[in-house]
Symmetry: C2
Subunit: 216 residues, 2 copies
DNA sequence: ATTCACATGTGCAACATTTCACAATGTCCT
DNA sequence: AGGACATTGTGAAATGTTGCACATGTGAAT
């Protein structure tokens, strides 16, 4: 293939998922992995793995498999996670501060360089990581001066859209939204939603769907 | 249709999404909504809305639209969110405690009734909500005695699978996993993953993909 | 009563994604 | 050097999902 014709969104998501076991394998002594084993550890079909990778090139060796470190490096290159990213967080409530403290961000090169809130009681406070909470009004100037590329929204749903608008006005092209609401944005700005209340409702649906308990 | 033949997973997810604006509309004075308006506020196609609903029945009135309160009630019935659910949280780190405190849970009928951790320093501590942190070893007995139906995993990735196994051994049939790893489970147990590092990587991919800035 | 405007419900076609199956191609062993 | 073996890369089929377009039904106005 080699042509980045039209890569399905699901493929991108899976590439990221593939990288998790690869990172673990890299730390252990494993040098090689087959599409079958990688697929199994991610719960997908082996052909799927190969097809996903085929969108971007030929990274394996026939009859042998994939070199773990090469494959991981290629995936990181594709996803552009082989570099550092600067992000800001808007809404420093329970969830927001937990995310700022979350090690998974920094470990993967996502650096929170600013935190905003509109609550006067919070503004000026210093977070455990050393970051000072700024008023939301400063978003536009701060995004520019700090060269922030990704905005994370952890406000209540009512204010999520206006925050998103502010971020976009500041030139942000990528938003990670934790508020349980559909944030509207033009094509040029990518929005990813993390709504665990939806996931809970899916679980509830599945739980209720299988009430047929075989009686002993 | 009327037959719950084979409802796509995406449909369930969208039903949950539809309920968000409906809740807001219900609080305001709006009584009626068309598939077109509902679709727009959720960023989907109007036909999609109708098709999703058609899997479960005919809830609208032709020429008129949908009664907001009726539709919301039906969706809640479908998703089984018209009742309370009991859940436990395993791993009381930053994220875990933020989730326990998160209002979105209780507001929607998801009650955290137990919290577990394996860190001796944390065991016995009382959370702001009044819950005492129990050792992970007690999961099996507690799940049974407290009739817990959903397990939430917020441990580091290394321990996520063993925690999941423990939960399943205790009879749990639904798991919400926040650890950035693919948790393996038999068919009978539904697992939903919330991995925001994957979302960040998707954002990074999209950001890097559009570097063609039109020069003025 | 009849007609008009409107919005649902749905068959069907278009599109997208996943899986299969096998040719291509590399490694290793004799 | 050559054959056996393993595993990739990929065309094509199967499967799943989305969107169009229109028939169907409803309410309101004349």
């Amino acid at each position: 293939m080699k042509k980045t014709s039209k890569v399905p969104d699901a493929t991108i998501e899976r590439l990221a998922r593939y990288s998790r076991p690869l990172e673990i394998l890299l730390k252990s002594d494993t040098r090689l992995i087959s599409s079958e084993k990688l697929a199994k550890s991610c719960g997908v079909n082996p052909a799927q793995v190969r097809k996903d990778l085929a969108y971007f090139g030929e990274f394996g060796v026939r009859g042998v498999g994939y070199d773990v470190s090469v494959l991981l490096a290629e995936i990181k290159k594709i996803l552009a996670t082989d570099r550092e990213w600067r992000l800001c967080i808007v809404g420093v409530g329970n969830l927001g501060s937990a995310l700022v403290a979350n090690e998974n961000f920094g470990k993967r090169g996502y650096n929170v360089v600013a935190a905003f809130d509109s609550d006067p009681k919070k503004i000026g406070a210093i977070l455990p990581c050393g970051l000072k909470i700024e008023p939301s009004k400063k978003i536009i100037t701060a995004v520019t001066s700090l060269e922030i590329e990704i905005g994370v929204i952890t406000t209540p749903p009512q204010t999520a859209q206006s925050v998103a608008d502010l971020l976009m006005e500041a030139g942000i092209k990528a938003i990670l939204n934790f508020a349980p609401i559909q944030v509207k944005a033009p094509e040029c700005c990518t929005v990813e939603n993390v709504d665990f209340t939806i996931k809970l409702e899916k679980l509830a649906y599945h739980l209720a769907k299988v009430p047929l308990e075989p009686k002993p």
